[in-house]
């Protein structure tokens, strides 16, 4: 899962350049590694025992399971942690305000259209949606009409 998805609601990295492209970029990867490195020291402290490693891993797993359950049980929580999809192109028309707020431009949409649908022009696109995962999905005109 790309970095942008989990962090999008957590406000810092969300809707950054990676939001336009759900692939993990080199910078995303680097960021992930460095953040993990920085957090690892604080999580482990001076205790390098196997017991501590297992306990830390268990704690993180438990946190993940609990948040998964809360997201399933309370849709409101899922909205906050995973955000909601945003329609960027509606009936073939760009919605400039939403593009700007999401830091996405027409090129990103065309890029996604080429990659996922083999489309080359804006007028072939009926809908473009910025998904919760941070990727852009494209609905071509033919399939929705």
């Amino acid at each position: 899962m790309p970095l942008s998805s989990t962090s999008s609601s957590w406000c810092f990295c969300g809707s950054s350049a990676s939001a336009a492209c759900p692939d993990v970029t080199t910078f995303d990867f680097l960021l992930l590694l460095l953040v993990a490195q920085a957090a690892q020291q604080a999580l482990l402290g001076d205790d390098f025992s196997l017991t501590n490693a297992v306990l830390v891993a268990l704690t993180l797993l438990a946190a993940e399971r609990v948040s998964d359950y809360l997201q399933w049980r309370f849709p409101r929580v899922a909205k906050v942690t995973q955000s909601v999809p945003v329609v960027l192109v509606e009936n073939g028309r760009l919605i400039p305000e939403r593009l700007a707020k999401s830091h996405i431009d027409e090129d990103d949409i065309l890029n996604a259209a080429r990659k996922t649908q083999g489309l080359s022009r804006m007028d072939q696109i009926d809908y473009a949606v910025l998904e919760r995962s941070g990727g852009i999905s494209i609905l071509p005109k033919s399939t929705t009409q």
Partner: protein, 168 residues
Amino acid sequence: MNSSANRVTIEEDMVFQRREWLVQRISWVLAGVVLVLALLGVFGTGPLSWTSTTTPDGLLHLEYERFARRLGMTALAVDIAPEAARQGEIRLQISQDYLGDVMVQKVTPEPLAVVNGAGKLTYVFTTDEVTEPLKVSFDLRPDRVGVQHAEVGIEGAPPTRFRQFVYP
């Protein structure tokens, strides 16, 4: 909110989305503020953190950090005027409450002896007839989160006090 419900099902929620964008931008600003504060030294190591104090008689000059971090490194630098020496000895006292909460990693130069006293540890240094101040440096590793109170002085002279905040 779902203007396209008739043709495409997208669980859009622009009210929520707008709120998220707002929170996002506020967070970016806050993150920027935190970074600036960090550069200034509010979280330790920076101009707002470095400070110093002197005893009323001017014999001791301490340089310390207002802000330190638990299990991080910080230093306490003590400048001791030559007049503080008694019979070739300088007896520097530091409150044990403080020393109990910051682990002393190293004292440079090494004291001749460390004497346990009532609530204080006395570090004994020997000097010849010198005119230069003695510079003693304590490398510390704070082990307790919160405000720490320290009292440092020369034996028999009024001490100086300082506070230090230790971040988790």
